[in-house]
Structures are given as C-alpha cells and as structure tokens.
Amino acid sequence: MLDRLVGLTMLIAASAVFLYYTIWTLFMPFVDEDHPLHTLFPPRVWAIRIPVILILLFTTVVGSFLSVVMIRSNRRKALKAKAKKAN
C-alpha cells in the first residue's frame, strides 16, 4: 500500500513539475505583462537559475561521494600493499 502511494506521489510530482516549468518557460513570454497569470510565476530568470543550482548541487554531491569512496579504497589498497611488503 505504501509503495503504491510513493509511486503515485512520484507520478504526480513529475507531471506537476513538467507542466509548471513548461508553462513558465515556453508560454509565459507570450502572455501580456498585465495578465493576472503572471502572479503565479516568479520572474523568468529563476527558470534558469533553479535548474543550474540543482545541477551544481547534484554534481557536488555525486563528486564528493565518488571522491570519498575512491580515497577510502586507495587507502585500503596502500595498507594492503604495505602489509604484504612487511611479510
């Protein structure tokens, strides 16, 4: 039951994000400045800034995780080589 709920939440979230972002970036430029619809959307610069910030955040997290794992693995390999040499 819970997993179906999670799946449904992901479905709805994905559709909502897609719809909102599509209207924001592709349709709002053609809507007149004084139309009340503009109150639903932040200034369009943010349509670029938010994805860029998310991309940078994502690459930071993935890169840090990768580097931690590689450093740990190299340290273990160096320890093993040193132990083998000592034998």
């Binding site: 997993d3 179906r4 999670v6 799946g7 449904l8 939440t9 992901m10 479905l11 709805i12 979230a13 994905a14 559709s15 994000v17 897609f18 972002y21 599509t22 970036t25 592709l26 430029p29 053609f30 369009r44 349509a47 670029i48 994805p51 860029v52 991309i55």
Partner: protein, 94 residues
C-alpha cells in the same frame, strides 16, 4: 551500430540543430529568439528529469506483489544458508 553510437549521433544532431537556432542562422521572430531559444536546453533537461521520475513512479505504482516468487526466494535463501553453514561460512543470524 552500437547503442552508444546511436545515442551519440542523435545527441550530435540535436546539438547542431540547436546551435543553428541559437546562433541566429535559422531566422526566428525577435521575441522567440531572445526569450524561448536560450531556455530550450534547460526545458529539455527538466522534461527529461520529469519523464524519468514519471517512469519510475509508474513502475513502482503498477508493480504487484508476487507471493509465489517470494516464497520460492525465501526457500532458496534458506537452502543457501544451510549449505554454506555446513561448509563453514558465517551466515549470520536471520
């Protein structure tokens, strides 16, 4: 043609088409050129992410329980544990 080659060639095609639009080689009305064309790669990225999330959510939503496979898997795990334990492997506690 491998999958990678296919993906790279399609990506290259779309990139060159977009570059032609971005550099003004393809004529658009000034409003489209200034406000829509620069936004298209970000829109494509967000759409791709939303599509992947949708596909994931749909898979999770429609995945039904498989009780027989679960039972079979549990018996196989039990068999593996007994066999390995007989050979001296530490199989831990359940």
């Amino acid at each position: 043609m491998t999958r990678a080659q296919q993906t790279i060639s399609i990506a290259l095609l779309l990139s060159s088409l977009y570059l032609a639009c971005f550099l003004g080689i393809v004529p658009f009305s000034p409003k489209i050129q200034d406000e829509i064309v620069p936004v298209i790669p970000f829109w494509a990225l967000v759409t791709f992410g939303a599509y992947l999330l949708f596909k994931l959510g749909y898979g999770v939503f429609t995945f039904n329980d498989v009780p027989e496979a679960h039972k079979e898997l549990m018996t196989q795990i039990q068999q593996a544990r007994t066999e390995l334990k007989a050979k001296g492997v530490d199989v831990g506690t359940d």
